[in-house]
């Protein structure tokens, strides 16, 4: 029974979260996802037009007219939902078509769809590994991989972020295991840096290990034709397992997949619990994702525009005097180090019409607070110009322009 005492217990738990400054408040968007949105913040305030610089809408597909139209067609022709898991009566021909199209796009052998990439990562490890195996993960992999590894009986180990020497030590150390699976993100979501996938693949070849790549922040735009970090690093076709999402560059709705060696994919189809016990991805999303792949396979214009925007935005921030994390990806973290400063700057930017979010511990390491900006092909030159004007104004207010870590920490604390 939900007694008063129990209610108080939970209220106290929520208060603890709030007191630690970790209470997350949602902002209500009164428009479609886009570069220009209408946002109500704080709750109850008059909705305001702002520029969105924090979406994973890398290619602007979330509200692309052709994708919306394809979704509407899927809705009209194939209905709203499947009311079933895949293996009972939830598989339409279009589900299989999308799996085959993703296989071709990702340069793998086969693909199985999941309700999300969180679910793909939650299910893949226990489906393909046993207690005689080991998973060796980069220390900065996404939380969904951490959860998936927790659900698996194989031994866990980690290597220092992007440290190939340390990875090699681990591969030597675990020579006795039946299977060694090296696990990495393609683009790391908080730092925006890219995995050294060519070197990881070479080490895995040398030490007879498999590779799992979570390319959620790369599929659709990294690499010359947008296949992902494996294309970017010249190792397309050499990745044993790719997990990725339809919820970012490939449409932004929901859905994810495991793609890779056909036996491993089949094992996921047979054993992965989030696949077996969740509804099939809804028909309008399948139709929309198929259209996204049509668009990406017929032209690289959107990924090229995103790449140009990324170069321009990084240059603008540097010239204005901000301390940013280096990298090639459209995730561009503006480093502020101090948690409160990251919240204050994000708040002021919102007042200036720029929607960004400040991240701090435990999402990023202590003393590494930042604002994570994300580029999109939906951004035009005017968006970048308006944003850098606002960033510069706020940067001046807090006197952080031209200042590095030590100076910012000296002024605002760690």
């Amino acid at each position: 029974m939900y007694s008063d005492k129990l209610r108080q217990t939970y209220q106290q738990e929520l208060k603890t979260i709030a007191d630690a400054g970790l209470f997350k408040r949602e902002r209500f968007i009164h428009s479609a996802q886009s570069a220009d949105i209408v946002c109500e913040f704080p709750a109850g305030a008059k909705p305001k037009k702002v520029l969105n610089f924090c979406a994973n809408n890398y290619l602007g597909m979330s509200n692309h007219p052709e994708v919306v139209k394809a979704g509407q067609k899927g809705l009209a022709e194939r209905g709203y939902g499947m009311s079933s898991v895949r293996f009972i009566c939830g598989t339409q021909d279009s589900h299989r078509e999308l799996e085959q199209r993703l296989t071709r796009f990702l340069g793998t052998e086969d693909t199985v769809l999941f309700p999300s990439c969180m679910d793909a990562n939650g299910g893949v490890f226990e489906a393909v590994l046993t207690d005689q195996d080991v998973m060796i993960a980069d220390r900065l992999v996404h939380a969904s991989i951490v959860d998936g590894m927790r659900l698996c009986k194989a031994m866990t180990d980690t290597f220092k972020h992007s440290d190939m020497g340390h990875l090699e030590e681990k591969l030597q150390e675990h020579k006795d295991r039946r299977v060694r699976l090296v696990v990495t993100d393609g683009v790391f979501s908080m730092d925006g840096d890219v995995a050294q996938l060519d070197r990881i693949v070479a080490l895995c070849r040398q030490y007879d290990a498999m590779v799992l790549l979570d390319d959620s922040h790369a599929t659709g735009f990294m690499g010359r034709t947008g296949r992902g970090v494996h294309e970017h690093c010249g190792v397309l076709g050499e990745i044993d397992i790719v997990t990725t999402t339809l919820g970012k560059a490939l449409g932004g709705a929901s859905g994810g997949c495991v793609s890779g060696r056909k036996e491993l994919v089949e094992l996921c189809r047979q054993r992965a619990r989030p696949y077996l016990f969740s509804n099939a991805v809804a028909p309008p999303i399948i139709s929309g994702a198929l259209k996204v792949l049509d668009l990406l396979e017929s032209s690289t214009a959107l990924r090229d525009k995103l790449a140009d925007n990324t170069v321009t935005w990084r240059r603008m921030l540097k010239e204005a005097g901000f301390d940013i994390k280096a990298g090639d990806s459209p995730i561009v973290p503006v480093m502020l180090y101090n948690a409160k400063l990251s919240q204050d700057v994000a708040y002021d930017l919102f007042q200036e019409g720029i929607y960004v979010v400040g991240f701090f511990f435990p999402v990023v390491p202590k003393g590494q607070a930042r604002i994570r900006t994300q580029m999109s092909a939906a951004h035009d030159k005017r968006h970048l110009e308006q944003a850098i004007e606002a960033f510069t104004k706020v940067g001046r207010k807090y006197d952080i322009l031209g200042k590095g870590k030590n100076e910012i920490v000296a002024k605002y604390g760690p």
Partner: protein, 84 residues
């Protein structure tokens, strides 16, 4: 600081701190609850101790509490060395 403590402390520094990490670790520094070592990365420490001291630490004893400081790790190692 005795030899065993130094050995474990050195391993923890080498294994878990990044090159640019300037945090000063002592035998009393909270490793797991302090966010320096996560529960996934504990396995390498456990394997290191087992190999180095020719002991077996059952999973039930390799708890986050037992691995939370270099001092508690040293106590754990001593306990299992005596059992040998």
């Amino acid at each position: 600081m005795n030899e065993l403590t130094t050995l474990v402390l050195d391993y923890v520094k080498k294994e878990y701190l990044e090159a640019e990490d300037d945090r000063q670790l002592t035998p009393q520094t909270k490793l797991i609850s302090g966010g320096i070592v996560d529960s996934f990365s504990m396995v390498s420490l456990k394997r290191f101790l087992e190999r180095k001291f020719q002991i077996q630490i059952p999973d039930a004893d390799a708890s986050p509490e037992a691995f939370d400081t270099v001092d508690s790790i040293v106590a754990l190692v001593q306990r299992f060395r005596q059992k040998k």
